[in-house]
């Protein structure tokens, strides 16, 4: 466990140099989305959604979607860089660290980034009056869980591909459609049945659902337990896949 | 005019900094001509001006009888350039690198493919034709760059530090290929800060320092004019080699003190070494060797080439 902390420390120290530009893209861009869609398009959604004003309806979804995007962003190019460009994983592997420590430390950093972005966004949403309930704080652990469902799995993918072009492919074919069709901007109930099942199979829609229940102060019902367990299953599977891929790359 | 390169008072300035400070050069067809000097001597700037990618700041320059300012594309059509840092295309295969490059000269695709295949054989990369560039070793990349420079059957090939950064075996392979080109009558112009490279490849060279030419001639002529036949290298078991300089006075023509050793410039090395021992000086190591361009450079500038 402790060796992972050293790895986390390494990533945190590195982050001190780049936090400004990353804070920019992981906070300012979602904020603009909130303004553009939540307020802009929202002003044309006269009836609201499910009896809720559009801004309040879409903001929890946007927070979950931001958490997911930060998790994926942190587990793609940075991981590729640690393997291929800067090769810091190999430097770490030369120290008395096991692949699982290296992975664990890095994933911890990714989750830190997810949590920080979600927290910042939550505060801004509060200022815009987009939160309706004290339960909104639960958005933070939900974001963390969603990040954990995605980050290790995507890190496993990154560790397995040969060029960074496949990362662009992941973003365009998986991350973008997932963000657009997981009930962030419109209810997934209006998707055709087949697509709805795809959306339900991906983790983001559950993160959106849970976050929305939290900020609107609704009772999510017993289904919420299953949603949490489903996200946990993704996290565990992702962890095992990633440790396997990391061992393959680092122990030669 | 039968010089391929003709420069008079050639100058290159970057702002306040003068990289090339008025040099005169003539390179004749069929010769291998070298610019020798340490880093920052102005060799690369000179090469870029000759390659018509850097306009001269002053003086006269004619390449293949043309004016680089006006006829850049026409001149470059007949040049082959091998830059100091390989700029091969990492997204293309070895063969595609040559074929796409040939297209920039307007060489028809079919002719380009034939020529590329011949050149790959020439630089002994025929078996790697379908491989990407990245996995190639440094020496292979350099040979590929040399092949690329030959794609348009140039009248003049410019090689900027052709073997810098290569291991000894790879260097010899590059030298051997360049020597073949020279035998085929290709005019080579190269820069180097390696003495052995200049001695191996150049018929004639200029020694550059601080943007100026400090000497000119064949390697043999330069050594004869600026050094002695042999050199004795002595290392003494002390931090300050200079304390021994006085005690060596009178042996040979000249004594040079370097931080880690003392050089004696003499006609007869073994005789000089006997004299050193007769004066009961006991160096921890000693070596007698032939004079090289390194010694010429040291003599001309008071500095060693590779710091």
């Amino acid at each position: 466990m402790t060796p992972s902390v050293y790895v986390l420390e390494y990533h945190l120290v590195n982050y001190r140099r780049t936090w400004r530009s990353s804070a920019f893209s992981s906070l300012v861009l979602p904020l603009l989305t909130m303004l553009g869609f939540g307020l802009g398009v929202g002003s044309f959604v006269t009836g609201g959604v499910e009896g809720v004003p559009y801004l309040q309806w879409m903001v929890p979804g946007l927070i979950a979607s931001t958490a997911a995007q930060v998790a994926v962003a942190e587990s793609t190019w940075p991981v590729m860089s640690c393997f291929t460009w800067v090769k810091s994983y190999f430097a770490q592997a030369a120290a008395p660290l096991r692949p699982a420590d290296i992975l664990g430390g890095h994933v911890a950093f990714m989750l830190f980034r997810v949590l920080a972005s979600a927290a910042a966004f939550l505060m801004v949403a509060f200022c815009f009056g987009a939160l309706r309930s004290g339960w909104s704080l639960l958005v933070l652990p939900i974001a963390l869980l969603l990040g954990a469902a995605l980050a290790p799995l995507v890190a496993a993918y990154t560790a397995s591909v040969t060029t960074d072009m496949y990362l662009a492919v992941l973003f365009r074919f998986a991350v973008l459609p997932m963000s657009l069709f997981s009930g962030v901007f419109f209810p997934i109930e209006s998707l055709p049945t087949g697509l709805r099942w795809v959306a339900l199979a991906l983790p983001l829609s559950h993160g959106v659902d849970l976050s929305r229940a939290a900020t609107l102060g609704l009772d999510p019902g017993p289904g919420a337990v299953w949603q949490v367990l489903y996200l946990l299953a993704w996290a565990v599977a992702g962890w095992f896949l990633a440790s396997w891929r990391y061992r393959r790359r680092l122990v030669i | 005019m039968n010089s391929l390169i003709h420069a008079r008072g050639l100058v290159k300035r970057f702002g306040d900094f003068t990289a090339v400070d008025g040099i005169d050069v003539d390179v004749r067809a069929g010769e291998a001509f070298g610019f020798l000097g340490p880093n920052g001597a102005g060799k690369s700037s000179t090469m870029r001006m000759i390659g018509c990618v850097s306009p001269p700041s002053g003086g006269e320059l004619r390449i293949l009888g043309m004016d680089p300012r006006r006829d850049g594309p026409a001149i470059r059509a007949r040049l082959g350039v091998c830059p100091q840092l390989d700029n091969l295309d990492p997204e293309l295969t070895v063969l595609e690198n040559l074929v796409t490059y040939a297209r920039f000269f307007g060489i028809p695709r079919r002719a380009a493919r034939e020529r590329a295949a011949e050149l790959l054989d020439f630089v002994q990369l025929g078996e790697r034709a379908g491989s990407k560039v990245d996995p190639l070793s440094g020496g292979m990349k350099r040979r590929l760059t040399i092949a690329r420079a030959m794609i348009n059957q140039p009248d003049l090939v410019l090689l900027d530090e052709p073997t810098t950064g290569l291991d000894p075996q790879a260097r010899h392979l590059v030298w051997e290929r360049l020597f073949r080109l020279k035998q085929q009558g290709v005019t080579l112009v190269l820069t180097t800060h390696y003495m052995d490279e200049a001695e191996q490849l150049c018929d004639r060279l200029v020694v550059m320092d601080g943007g100026r030419i400090v000497a000119e001639g064949s390697p043999r002529e330069l050594i004869e004019a600026h050094s002695t036949r042999e050199v004795v290298e002595l290392r003494f078991p002390t931090d300050d080699q200079g304390t021994y300089a006085g005690k060596l006075e009178g042996i040979g023509e000249r004594v040079e003190v370097l931080p880690d050793r003392v050089l004696l410039y003499v006609g007869d090395g073994d005789g000089a070494l006997t004299e050193v021992h007769r004066r009961s000086l006991s160096p921890s190591s000693s070596l007698v060797r032939r004079s090289s361009l390194e010694d010429v450079f040291l003599r001309l500038t008071g500095r060693t080439l590779v710091d």
Partner: protein, 266 residues
Amino acid sequence: MLPRLLPALDGMARRSAAVAGRNVAALRTAYWLVLLGGLLEPVFYLFSIGVGVGALVGEIPLPGGRLVGYAEFVAPAMLASSAMSGALTETTFNFFGKMKFMRLYEGMLATPVRPIEIALGELSWAMLRGSLYSAAFLVIMVAMDLTTPLRALAAFPASVLVGFAFGALGMTVSTLIRGWQDFDMISAGMFVLFLFSGTFIPATAYPDVLRWIVEVTPLYRSVDLIRGISLGSLGFVQLLDVLYLLAMLVGGLFVAGRRMERLLCR
């Protein structure tokens, strides 16, 4: 004069084509996938926002007061945005990568190829790619009954013009870039334009000052032009849009060529 000029132009075209040809030779499996992804991106947005959110919005009023379906309103904006982002990505990220990272242009400049020919070659490649995207997207628009085939045909050259204008702008921008950190700014700039250029709601919905700012941005002019064509509501304003984009194209190419000369031929 003309007999001298023609071979010169011919050589220029040939060498520019060779520069573009390099990119064709570099097409690989993964790159094809990235290209396909670029094609799908506006389609994803069209379905998510145009259709999905459109069901919540219903109809939206044009400046003239005419009501149109939300998907009809959003689709031309997605076309213009994808022409913009395709052209900017190719001429900034990829162009900069080739210039600084792979140092490809140094190699090219040792041949008879001149800086302006590199600029033209890269731009025509970006445009070839962008035109394919636009054509495919227009086919989808017609198939979804968001415009008529005739209007789609007319919108095609307009979208090519949009691509060229942004391509020229991108080349100028990439000669000013200092390093990778500036790309965050470019992405952010593109995203801001994408969100606020009258793409998802009419510019008239903004407060006055904001609206004026929005209306002078290049993406707004592009959206205005293509939407005018695809919805069949053309006027003098669209002529202004065309002039605006032409000026951007010529100005961008001129500045980019000069700056490249200075950057690469020092």
